[in-house]
Symmetry: D2
């Protein structure tokens, strides 16, 4: 098959080899086969069949290929029955009855899904998130004292440090990663039959829930607290919420970083490689492509949460209107990992221009003192400080004079200035000191998450 005949950008432009082990159609079938093998072994332990038969089945499960299964499905029009037939075709007649015995299709499908999502999270996604967190912590700590103007409404407010701005993402991403880890390891399997009441397993076992626990333990899973034909959907829904809300966090970071690359702001830049071309017509132009790309991935995948929510609803003991749609969950996971890895790579090599940060801060330096001035006047007893400072700024703007100069010359303020402490007066004289506890907070946040994940 020619990969350029693929439709999904995930299978061409944004293809990642590593995820195929967990998220491809082939992996779906391979995990189902793993579950069938676990069932056979559990049946043997319960003496329903011999261990020899169980191992024969397990070996067959390893040998069956997705191609084979698809070929069989084409004939009989049932996906899991096709898996079963392929296993049966590879074993002795006398062993055949024990393949899939007592299971309903979704005992296999739901359990396999839980397993591969868990494996994907633990093997690829969480390591990537932790690596990205590492990148962010390093950046935040390195820049914890780099003064930058804080911005609200896109307008200059009061100063922070760039490290502090990055610590926001350490904190938010840390908590989200924790949630993904929690939810990925909480997803459940099931072996409770066609309608969840253990009808079939009850034919053989006094306590079919124990048997369910046993099969699932072999796979490292727990059973759903209640099930119908399928596991309670909320385990997956919560995992997907953890993913999509983390996507929101990284999209926010991508937005911040691409806006800081606006020509007029220019405080950071994406690394630009050797022969890279800036634009097809403007050869010099360097664009925040990769941050835009991460935002674009967010726009593509965030809305898919609504499919996940819609799939919560399944009539009675199950209708299959969530079957095809839930198959697409892998796209969201693959797209998310892609975005995390890309963002990590470009944050890691981010170019921070301290001089530009200083230049931008300086352009507002004079006005920054309005806030501490008003507060100190008020704290020292001026009973209309906010309004008084507002007027002083208007006057300064009109006169084209620095606010500091206007303020220091305002007779009404003198009596209050006398009460200012030395540190307080120092801030009025040098607004770059007005950064609160930016550096200390950055350190604390970074230290917390550093420890948390070690």
């Amino acid at each position: 098959m020619n990969p350029f005949d693929n439709i999904s950008p995930l299978d061409t432009r944004y293809y990642q080899k590593a995820v195929t082990k967990y998220l491809s159609e082939g992996s779906r079938i391979r995990y189902q086969l793993k579950v069938e093998a676990a069932l056979a072994r559990a049946l043997a332990r319960k003496k329903i069949c011999s261990f020899k038969i169980a191992e024969e089945i397990a070996r067959a499960c390893e040998a069956v290929t997705p191609e084979e299964v698809y070929k069989e499905e084409k004939k009989i029009n049932h996906d899991i029955r096709a898996v079963v037939n392929c296993i049966r075709n590879r074993i002795d007649h006398s062993s055949k009855p024990f393949v899939h015995l007592g299971a309903t299709s979704y005992d296999i499908i739901s359990t396999a899904e839980a397993l591969r999502f868990k494996d994907f999270a633990n093997s690829l996604l969480i390591p990537s998130l932790k690596e990205f967190l590492r990148t962010l912590i390093d950046l935040a700590l390195r820049e914890k004292n780099t003064i930058q103007i804080g911005r609200t409404h896109g307008r200059h407010a009061v100063p922070i440090t760039f490290g502090f701005a990055m610590a926001e993402y350490v904190s938010r991403l840390g908590r989200r990663t924790q949630m993904i880890e929690e939810k990925a390891n909480a997803i459940r399997g099931k072996f409770s039959g066609a309608v969840g009441a253990y009808n079939s397993m009850s034919l053989f076992f006094e306590d079919p829930e124990k048997f369910e626990v046993e099969i699932l333990r072999e796979l490292g899973l727990k059973p759903s607290t209640h099930s119908t034909q399928i596991v309670e959907p909320e385990f997956i829904v919560d995992l997907m919420h953890a993913v999509v809300s983390t996507f929101g966090v990284i999209a926010n970071l991508a937005d911040d970083l691409r806006h800081l690359q606006r020509s007029e702001i220019n405080e950071v830049a994406e690394e630009f490689r050797g022969a890279q071309v800036g634009s097809s017509t403007m050869p010099h132009k360097r664009n925040p492509w990769h941050f835009e790309n991460v935002k674009s991935f967010y726009k593509e995948f965030m809305p898919r949460m609504f499919t996940v929510y819609l799939d919560q609803i399944s009539e009675h003991q199950r209708d299959l209107s969530n079957s095809a749609s839930s198959r697409f969950n892998v796209e969201m996971l693959a797209g998310f990992l892609f975005a995390v890895d890309r963002l990590n790579r470009y944050v890691k090599s981010l170019i921070v221009d301290k001089r530009a940060m200083k230049r931008n801060l300086d352009s507002s330096k004079d006005m920054i003192i309005a806030e501490p001035l008003y507060l100190l006047l008020a704290a020292h007893g001026h009973n209309n400080a906010h309004e008084a400072v507002r007027r002083a700024t208007l006057y300064a703007q009109k006169q084209g004079k620095p606010l500091k100069e206007v303020v220091l010359a305002t007779p009404d303020f003198q009596q209050f200035f006398d009460k200012f402490t030395k540190e307080q007066m120092a801030i009025i004289n040098d607004p770059e000191k007005y950064i609160g506890i930016s550096a200390r907070k950055t350190e604390n946040v970074c230290e917390y998450w550093e420890k948390f994940f070690n």
Copy 2:
């Protein structure tokens, strides 16, 4: 590449060979090459280069492969510049300057996108929709006299015919198909340069808009009414709305048909093929799989409209946060076509059980007369007919007697019965006659859309 290593179900389970010509990554590049060729020819007509050079470029455009372009992009990190370089590599030195001359990347990308979506719609999607409409018209006309109980709130209301129920979808799908046709043929291209003001083309042409018209005419497209780096997004947005709202219509039909297959209702059935397996544990079970599948496709793809809406917003003369996301539009189109074709196939072979329809109707037959009875009493002057009939039904239920019997024996009603016409009385006596103009309406709706598309 092993297709089972693909992530998207669209590239494995739901793969459709036919759409690759328009929706695959390869097709994206091939259409871009078509646009580059059209540009070269237009330049020749304007005497910027010779016709010989233009044809040399056009031939190169036909020869370049997606593989080549991807290889080049890996080196230089720019997708369209890679296309350009691949063309340049296949032509003479003296021809090279005229490749892509005056164009910005998105002149090529936006125009190519418009073209392949239009081609996809006209070549595959609209024919499929018309074929499905044909199927529905045939079904509606065939069953125009098949009496079925009408249902509101899932409860028996008053009778219709099954053909009339299907005519709903003829009408809704007819209008939607008309809209898709209109919107697909209204999408536009552009050749207005990097920010839409024709900066580059103005270097060469007095009236660069004329030149734009000329290139696009060759491709069968019109220029966007205004453009920035990209075409006004609403052309694509409207097409996608047409698609997603049609998806709503077919999902509704799929829902209706799967509910009519509930065991207790059983009025229709999906065709079931030879060796098909009903369930992995209940061998006899026949499920409305394909109708569930269509609903599930709807759940997967409808939410993607929100990506399309989000992509309407692009800062200033363009930011690229809609670039990756818009690449996924092809998935929605492919998924929709898949659902239409599948639904068509299973509606075409739908098994309609008239006896079951009759049986279900009969179970409510007695109560159906409540509505015409109340109306006729009122029309003939009973001033509290609704309440009087309500009481009669409660009484009938309590007594376990047929409503008709109770009603005919109610002294208060006699004077009004005397005024009923023969036809009116006939309906009270046989509620199966109470189907309004079901058959006639079915014919009219079908005739309208049959003519419309011929």
Copy 3:
């Protein structure tokens, strides 16, 4: 103001007096005043102002009305400054400077929001959810032995009990309620100033984070782990996810119950009150209105999660494009509570028709044995049991004979029947026994959640 001039159905048709205390515009302002009072008291404890002044401010905070604040805002065009001015207007000149001292608007707004959402959850929402859980537990236990046919794809599968079907919702709703409780009590406040770096509070305190903890402790809240102008958005996002995913669970239940009221199924019914009118033209018609209504509320409010996700993104230290939108979060909370209460009321008075359940089960009774039969044949060594049973069912259908009769007469099966245990044979003879552990599972699930919330 005439309530019929309101636009939102939440302020007319679906108006709930009780929620106004937490979710109305007036409550928004009253909670902001509470936060201003807490700030004043904390300032006094830190000796920035006297306790007398703090109490004067706190008294003013109790006296200020929303009307007043709106009037002031109209003059000065700033919502929180209007709150501040209204407090100032009610106190002595010398106390004025200490109102709002050191706080930025969003210290007040974010904290007030956290507080009222938490109060709403603890005072109204969680009690309602627990009451509903109680209703469901009672219903499940009462009907734990009521046999009902299990349904997959809307088709009869194998039997369960109605109590078991309800236990699904006990389990899912239990876990969701637990999550809402957890997330509602985890939301945070902040007092870290205009850009989150404690710039202003650092003017007065060595350790402004301690001061933040102190104010918030008075309100029963903790500070955000990191903040910009606003609290990290994920605390609210997680709460809203908990709400919207619970909405999915109750919508699923509503769907199940309305489908069970289809005329052909008729297993349950909504309570119908005295003078209630069924339909405007069909006086006898009883519809599952309230369950449809709950589903409709879900359709209205679930998509609003999209707004919550979009509001996660705020540029740099804050842009205000999430300000108006986040004001609408109250609608989602109000709508959800409405739906929970309504569903509770109609589930509590649900009419369960055991005879109808029996009748529906009986209609499929014969075919139910296909599953246990195939499984027992397989377990006892028949090496092609699934296919053999599939053929037997086709044969039975063709011959119009009961499956049981066909099966018992099949010579090939005899040798296996001999190996069946008495209990196994009993199930083949009476499929009503084939309900697995429906009753026991129901008990366990109910017991677990009963204990959990006591």
Copy 4:
């Protein structure tokens, strides 16, 4: 009722008196009464009742109040039957039977909804949109020659004029307004009874479709092409799409204008009124509040389109799971109008700082020539112009020299410069001339839409 007890921000903070006539709960009932009156008159024309009775009913319809209807509904639990009873209560016994005769609830509800949405659009929404278009046209024409740097990826690209940037929105908003007008006037009513087959009306009329046309004509509406209990949903869906996609356009404009107000860019400013307060702690700070607000409204209301799409699906001849949700459509309409009016007001008073635009352009002036230079070199035969210019810019940056200087001194380029026309050379010398047809295009777009709506 205290308005501060309202939940929805639309009923407090964002309340608009004007819309209550069309979008309030009261208006819903008043429009239903209008439809009942039209029905009575049509019955009279068909001689089912006398004209005197019809007028008595029509007068009663004018007199009935929403309060009355709600009171009655509380008793009987049916909204339209309550309307009917209120009318009946005000008329003579002998007239009572003719109220609502032959109609089903949704004949009234669907028709009334269509009517008030149409009236709202024609009376308020479209006039507001046209006024806003007028504002944009005025702004675009006024600034058609104001040079501004074009921006892609947020980075300086090549120049345009600010008028041209605004013309984008004239064009997009023009087409959207046209679509809203088309779709609002295309919505339909219905009088086809409980399941759409004209069952009831067929009791009285040979051709009930004619009767339907007659009632609706009186209201200025056409009948749905097919109906079930309700009008085909796509008429409303298309109107809502027109609205929500227009919301995308105005959100995009709001985004552009708020980004142009970033401190570093500062090209435009929101009007700031007299006593207005900039920030609660930074008295001098002027924020793009209203543009942020419009964006926030978009985030609140765009996702509601999801509800509209979900409401397309209604089982069989209708289930009511779209009843409550469709009642909330009025919120989207009210929210959209609010945003349009607000944006109009602040665009109308927008402060444009031409000097800032010039300053920003100047900062990139030197690099701008890269594009025309490469193109002219290529057009004049340089066979590797893009790469040659790319290298020149890298060299210029390294050397800290102006690109123009570097380029003019490059020996390789001299032979090509000789071929440049005078106009071409002038652009290399003054990049401010490199604005393509910005002014002319602006004029044409404005002229087109000016004419279109006159």
